[in-house]
Subunit: 770 residues, 2 copies
């Protein structure tokens, strides 16, 4: 156990580090040549085109206005100044609700910290248990529950505090859930018209021998939603096409670059290029001609592929985006069961067009359940056995292994310094690499599992990451040993000794977690605002790769809120705060500082940097709420375990009420608020429909929705199609639905509308092909 002076030293180091980061940030951000790294959001919104200063040439790159250096912390009030409604408008609701997680942390822990310091610190401190014992102890331990003698009546203070903290946390959680749900509903209702409000994603369209997917979808919805069905868009498997389009884009970019270069050099010397790998070898040819021919070749290829994709039924996936005339119609379709067989014609809200994860749209139901099983098993092994392959790699990556593989290094490796460095660092590196790649691995797992929207992928990854952190960081730090060893211990322990084992070692780990909070939390957050990696990458790219203005835009890479890694990290702090609130209250101020700092930093980043990929209107809040509840229950169980080792056994029946009440509270909240995040109330839909009908009586919904859910590879092709209105030939009364089924029709009548939509695709085709 570290003494308070050691903690003080660690705190000083970390505060200095964080402060250094902040100062570096303050200096770097006001340099004009960094402007695109620290304010990309404004560039992307089109509100900023150049660094604000203008003047001498040098001033374009370096800020020479020394007054601005003095006000180096003024970004903080600036970040807090933007009011919430404006922030929603500026960065979307997701970002604002993400910030609310930090706010929730502050709301929970500031009063808890105050109460703990006024009540529990005196109660703990005025004992002499540790002084009288022969154990080594620190000042921090004197403030913790360890200082209370075994069997003392003072434990009732902790009991009462546990109740108070639980009720306070639940109160705040309920208020926040209420507030977030209201914000979400208000956002959805006050929002502009969005294609996903009218659209439903239909999956598992059953195969039909007589009709194509296109016709089948149309007929099904004309029959079953006759008053509401408007149009639909089948989903194409366009992965090959997508690759081709990307390739063409690169080549086009090179072409632009060489043309620019040629023009800049006053058309004196035509640039040349080598055709081999990476332009390093091969025949030297005229660059502009070469890339022109390449682009043309690819254009033709793409045209062929496009034709193949749109014409051949093989590329049509059994899924479609079905649009309705009203929001009411879409809300009805998304929430109801369509077919007798509940595994076909699955409907759900369409995600926002930019939120769709196109590759997963075609996975059939049985495959989905199998994938879920496979991933569940895989995740179990990943969590509990991830140390095995890493240990294996570590055993390989020792000096002997390297010498064997590369004998010529023997001389170098025999130098004592190199040897000890490798032996010291290599094992750590394997683990570090794994941990860096872990979020990507988890994201791949989620993708394999078959979610259809990026937001859902991120939510699921966040859940998994939280579980991994809970087991391997939280439990792993308390009970040293790998997760598998823990599992083994727990299986062989009785159900009531598990919380005792963990609970008993909790007070001893307080100093460790305080250090962890400072390193991972404080310094980490301060590092976040510095954006060191994007900064370096931007300048490297700018120097070596950026050829055109478009490239520079791409080099900015603002990124988006790292929900799948950031949220689990916050949750770890909630867990630590709640667990230690009763046990070692001295930990709380560190948590509070983390939440406050992170709130300011992320608010600044959201305003100036991040550019959200999608907008889910805070769909992740039920997860956030659920995990805080989990943390609360864990803290209660561990307190029970801890108190039972302290021979305060009479407290157990009183404490067991807490988790029961908490679980009940969770179920109450689930019933009360969760539907607002899962379903779309008809009242709301009807209200918006009515308003819209009154405001814009002649609105052409069909034209509006026409291209909304076209695969990006089609819609990005030439971004100039504004939705041709062909709503006039739309029959108002679909009295009879034409079908091609052989059983009914002798003279096959082709579906008129499918014909027309197919023609439309061909028109789209022709328009974009040369």
């Amino acid at each position: 156990m570290a003494s308070s002076s050691e903690i003080g030293l660690a705190a000083t180091i970390n505060i200095l580090t964080a402060f250094a980061f902040l100062v570096a940030f303050a200096i770097l951000r006001i340099q004009p040549f960094n402007d695109r790294v620290y304010f990309p959001k404004w560039y992307l919104r089109g509100l900023r085109n150049n660094p604000l200063q203008s003047g001498a040439f040098v001033q374009k790159f370096v800020n020479l206005d020394f007054r601005s250096y003095l006000k180096f912390l003024n970004w903080m009030p600036a970040a807090l100044r933007m009011p919430e409604p404006e922030l929603i408008d500026h960065a979307g609701l997701d970002s604002v609700i993400y910030l609310r997680i930090y706010l929730t942390g502050l709301k929970i822990f500031v009063p808890i910290a105050c109460l703990a310091f006024t009540v529990m610190v005196p109660v703990n401190f005025t004992n002499k248990t540790l002084e009288e014992s022969k154990l080594t102890y620190s000042d921090i331990d004197k403030l913790s529950i360890s200082n209370i003698p075994t069997g003392s009546n003072r434990f009732f203070t902790h009991l009462v505090m546990a109740y108070a903290f639980t009720f306070w946390t639940c109160y705040i959680l309920k208020r926040e859930y209420e507030k977030v749900a209201t914000m979400r509903l208000h956002f959805i209702s006050s929002e502009h018209r969005r294609p996903d409000q009218f659209t439903v994603l239909v999956r598992n369209v059953p195969p039909d021998p007589d009709e194509s997917v296109n016709e089948l979808v149309e007929h099904f919805f004309l029959v079953n939603h006759p008053d509401n069905y408007l149009s639909h868009q089948v989903v194409y498997n366009a992965n090959v096409l997508s690759d081709l389009v990307n390739e063409k884009k690169t080549k086009q970019n090179w072409l632009d670059y060489y043309q620019l270069k040629y023009n800049r050099s006053n058309q004196s010397k035509r640039p040349s290029v080598k055709t081999g790998y990476l332009g390093l070898w091969g025949k030297k040819v005229d660059a502009i001609e070469y890339y022109e021919s390449e682009v043309e070749k690819l254009s033709k290829k793409i045209c062929k592929e496009r034709e193949k994709v749109t014409k051949s039924s093989k590329h049509v996936m059994p899924a479609a985006f079905v649009s309705f005339k009203t929001r009411w119609g879409a809300a009805v379709c998304a929430q109801t069961e369509q077919s007798r067989n509940p595994t076909i014609w699955l409907t759900e809200w369409a995600p926002e067009p930019r939120d769709v994860y196109w590759d997963n749209l075609a996975i059939p139901f049985v495959s989905l359940t199998i994938r879920r099983l496979v991933i569940a098993v895989a995740f179990f092994f990943l969590t509990f056995f991830f140390m095995i392959p890493i240990a294996f790699v570590q055993s390989l990556a020792n000096i002997d292994g390297i010498v064997k593989a590369a004998p010529f290094l023997q001389g170098v490796l025999e130098v004592e310094f190199v040897k000890s460095f490798i032996q010291g660092v290599l094992p750590g590196i394997a683990l570090k690499i794994f941990l860096i790649f872990l979020p990507s691995i988890l994201m791949m797992m989620s993708k394999f599992e078959g979610f259809t929207s990026i937001s859902a992928l991120e939510r699921r990854s966040a859940t998994r990451y939280y579980i991994f952190q809970f087991i391997n960081v939280f439990l792993g730090s308390i009970i040293t040993g790998t997760a598998f060893q823990q599992l083994n211990t727990f299986i062989h322990q009785s159900a009531n000794t598990i919380p005792i084992t963990i609970g008993a070692s909790i007070p001893m780990k307080a100093t460790f977690f305080i250090t962890y909070i400072m390193v991972d939390g404080w310094a980490g957050v301060a590092g976040e605002i510095l954006r060191l990696k994007p900064l370096i990458f931007y300048h490297l790219k700018n120097f070596f790769l950026v050829k055109t203005e478009k490239d520079r835009e791409e080099a900015m890479n603002p990124g988006s809120l790292p929900f799948n890694t950031g949220e689990p990290q916050i949750q770890l702090y909630f867990l630590l705060g709640l667990v230690y609130a009763v046990v070692t209250p001295i930990l709380l101020p560190f948590i509070v500082v983390f939440f406050a700092l992170a709130y300011v930093v992320y608010r600044h980043q959201i305003i100036n940097v991040y550019n959200q990929q999608y907008e889910s209107a805070g769909a992740f809040w039920p997860d956030v709420h659920g995990r805080i509840i989990t943390a609360l229950i864990v803290s209660q169980l561990l307190l029970m375990g801890l108190l039972s080792t302290k021979e305060a056994a009479q407290s157990t029946p009183l404490l067991i009420v807490l988790p029961i009440l908490t679980i009940w509270f969770h179920r109450f909240c689930k019933g009360r608020f969760e539907p607002a995040f899962v379903r779309y109330p008809l009242q709301e839909a009807m209200m918006k429909d009515t308003l819209e009908r009154a405001r814009e009586p002649g609105l052409n919904v069909k034209g509006y929705l026409q291209d909304a859910y076209v695969h990006p590879v089609f819609s990005n092709w030439d971004g100039s199609d504004d939705g041709v209105s062909d709503d006039d030939d739309w029959p108002k009364e679909p009295a009879l639905v034409p079908t091609k089924r052989e059983s009914r029709v002798n003279t096959p009548v082709r579906s008129q509308r499918s014909e027309s939509s197919r023609t439309l695709l061909c028109v789209l085709d022709e328009r974009s092909c040369p």
Copy 2:
């Protein structure tokens, strides 16, 4: 452990008992004076009015046709002869699907028993472990897994068998689920028009200062389902009225009786009655006059109460049955979220009118969640601590206690025989009484929890009864000791020793469970067909109480399928069968006999006796399926525990795959089939609507639905209202919805329709009041 000869003796006794019951039944059922006890279903369906025989006076009571005695078992083939579709028509789908549970048992256990006897019995029998050991053992044990030496490779046979049994069970379960789902959907789609297809139950109508519930409901659905809303029926709190109506019914019955008596006695002597308690004392008055005045008094009271209920808004509960023009409209409303606030305007499918549990319709959301918590805690205590009050009663009900309370019995109690009888029997009686009342207690708990339909109440009670039986009968028999002691043991044991503790004692309890199956299963089922209690009660009532023909009808009391007690009992046999299939296969034939006997008996009872109160179209099947899956997982875990004591540790990783696969299978089935039991597909609804529109173009749905969901106390009042058609004045285009809200309207316009529906109620009022 009982030897095989002891088992043989028990079997003989039980077979003889069962046989005696069957013979008694065969004799009693062909006696004409028992006809109404054994064939009430036919009377209720109006297909039978009198015993079939006719002839001499004696033959009206006793069957003298001796040939019929010889064919005394011919009810069995008769019971099996009725084909399934006819049976559905005769007794409803619920009964047929209930019978399928027994069929499923046969389908699962007959092949398992065959396989077990051909493979496992030889493998077990050809060892000499028990012979060589010094333990006492029986022939049955020689056939069980106990006879395999520790660490033997033969355990792999059991492992393979466990796999085979699991796959077979899952295969049958999937097929049955599929079949039942198809039956349900087919039943729902081929059924006649039913009011619940068009109706949705709306609960938690929010209070509104400006509008009554009646108006509010109308406005809400006119606005949010403008094309589909048809009408609605608010729910009245009519419990007082209901009591009055019942009282009047009794009095009316007495009046009929005396009038009949007076007429029979050739109007010679007017019957008289005493007005005091039970007619035992008090003033003697003329019976007919007395009851006439009483009936009249009650009629007036009822009229007043009716008026009070229908006029005063205090009696209107915040719930309503809302009917739609089409099934599609109702399906949409039932499956969607109506309001922003997910705790108000809760919609769900309306239960069948006769399935509605009226008292629970007004419970608000918050109260519901609190009630659920309270009942969860209460049930926990009931399950684990029910022995405490019983032990307390037992300690009071001893000789000393009785002597103290009633000293005058001292003489009697000192007789040795009486003393030992009381001491032997009294403690048992307290437990027995508790067990008899347990289903009623569980039903009361479900009622308190707030379910709105009788079917849901029974399903929930069945779940609780199953859990109680699992813990107190199954686990309680294996690990002797009260449930609380078990709980205590389990909490203090490690997670992996629990299955070991239970698993190890399983083979030793085989003979106990065989006896249990014979007593509770065989003899119990044979007792069921005898209907001893209804038989005695019918004759007692017939002799003492039956005054009119209506009374005789009520005395028949056919009852309905005891789902809430019967299904958990079957599940116990599934559990026993699956657990012992691998361990002691000799138990399987007993299970198979139970399922076969029960199938025949209950098929007979369903055809001839039971009269279902409601029709849920097999809504209970997901529960049945889920509990068999639970039994399967329990059996797998216990086998793991058992094998680990046998030092066949290498089997554990192979066995752990089984529960994972089973859980996955369960989730697969849940996704694949459960929606068919919870939701109503729009395709189905649309199909029925279209068909109906084509067949009956001028159908007056409104007239049809008008009185469907009137509280029984209103509709039973004078069962002669055939639904007055007032559909003509129904405005076709509700362009504007009138409202009374003060914020909008200056000159308050009263809702026309509410007015009309209120008028309708008054008309109903007037019609029935004198």
